[in-house]
């Protein structure tokens, strides 16, 4: 309330976007769709864009979407990225729940804590992908999972910055 009063006066016509409730979920779907990019890579070192955008939104706001939306969003990600169906559904729902529990425990939040949280979740994501791949017979050595983990942790600040800009646009600030 106070912050809004201190903010510079708005320009006329500037305000929350009409679809502000849907923008976060739409960006997650768009990020999942990035896997349709014509990149033919033989290493698989690109970050898991959908999951990264999901935790960027969730770390920025407690309620970017109703918590149960994580399941259908995960299904969309599974379908587009070719993960075994159910992987992102379970992981994304569990992430929403875990971050709610973490929100109760943390006394204060700053950039470093958010980055560390994101790093932990992105690592869990890659390790689980590695485990699931091993279950279906694709048992690669764990050392080959280190580059994607490091790359996605390093890319996270960019995603968080983009999402915070998008959030400002969505709410007309």
């Amino acid at each position: 309330m106070v912050r809004a009063a201190l903010a510079p006066p708005r320009r006329i016509g500037q305000g929350p976007t009409r679809f502000r409730m849907l923008v976060p979920a739409a960006t997650v779907v768009a990020a999942s769709l990035l896997s349709a990019l014509p990149i033919v890579s033989t290493s698989g070192w690109y970050p898991d864009f959908g999951y990264m955008v999901l935790i960027s939104w969730r770390l920025l706001r407690a309620d970017p979407w109703p918590a149960w939306w994580a399941a259908p969003l995960g299904l969309v990600n599974d379908l587009f990225t070719g993960y075994p169906i159910g992987f992102s559904i379970a992981l994304w729902s569990a992430t929403m729940l875990a971050l709610d529990l973490i929100d109760r425990r943390t006394m204060w939040r700053d950039y470093w804590i958010e980055w560390i949280l994101a790093a932990v979740f992105l690592t869990i994501d890659q390790v689980l992908q590695w485990r699931v791949a091993a279950l279906v017979g694709a048992k690669v050595p764990f050392s080959s999972m280190l580059p994607p983990i490091i790359i996605s942790i390093c890319v996270f600040p960019l995603s968080a910055w983009l999402i915070s800009r998008l959030d400002g646009w969505r709410l007309g600030r």
Binding site: T42, S43, D63, T81, A90, L97, V140
Partner: protein, 291 residues
Amino acid sequence: MATARPGWSRRAQYGLFFSFLAVIGGIIVGLILLALSLVAPKTFENVRGAALDITGPVASALHEVTATASGLVTGAGDYWDAARQNGELKRERRALLQRMVEAKAIIQENQQLKATLQLRQRNQDTIAVGRIVGSSFNSPRRFAILSVGSSAGVQVGMPVRSADGLVGRIIDAGSLSSRILLVSDRANIVPARLLRGGIPVISQGRGDGTLDVRPLEVGRNPFRRGDVIITSGTGGLYPPLVPIARVVKLDDDGAVAIPLADPANISFAIVEPAFEPQAGADEATAGPDAP
């Protein structure tokens, strides 16, 4: 649902409680679906095919754009040192002409030998020809998206090759595009043999674009750097005599090889029928290593 206690409102408290229940329900549903797709990969075949039909054409269109752009760049580069390239090509052409005459003689001899042995040559038709337009670039698995699907006759289990060598096999088929399990995926095991000497070996992907090749008989390491691995046709899934990879490094009981068909660089991928139709049918029903 972030705050522990949303005030005294009973309605808000119930809302919080039910949203927790919904999330836990989401986790359970996800785990059940995951177990299903790991145990019985064919359960979601149709859904996955439909999703491929959404992303496949998008990837194809984007691929055209990037191919055109990179073509312009390399085209300009070709003009830059056209004279040197011209000389090189002429030299190559002379060498190739000589090789071609030799090859023709060999083919004739081969035909005579086959006629004497009364071997029947199996006719390998091409089912469809497509482009590789995408890949699983954010996963430890090695999949690629092919721009043709079941409307062109592509079915799960069919081998895919290019002019350079074996690419992989189809594991998901939408009607407009399909997904290939590349030879460099860890779960793709190809029965093969050494071109030099014909020693039977097994090729298995390493997940990072290279292959592990191991001899079937334990003992002496038969590989040398530069050896070419070709399919043996055992198992009936892949046709025999398709080149797979070239050995680049030896290790204690096998070798590391690089696929001859680099999925990022091949212009066309050819889908062929399963070498023995029975093997393709087994693959379609059982599919132990599909995702």
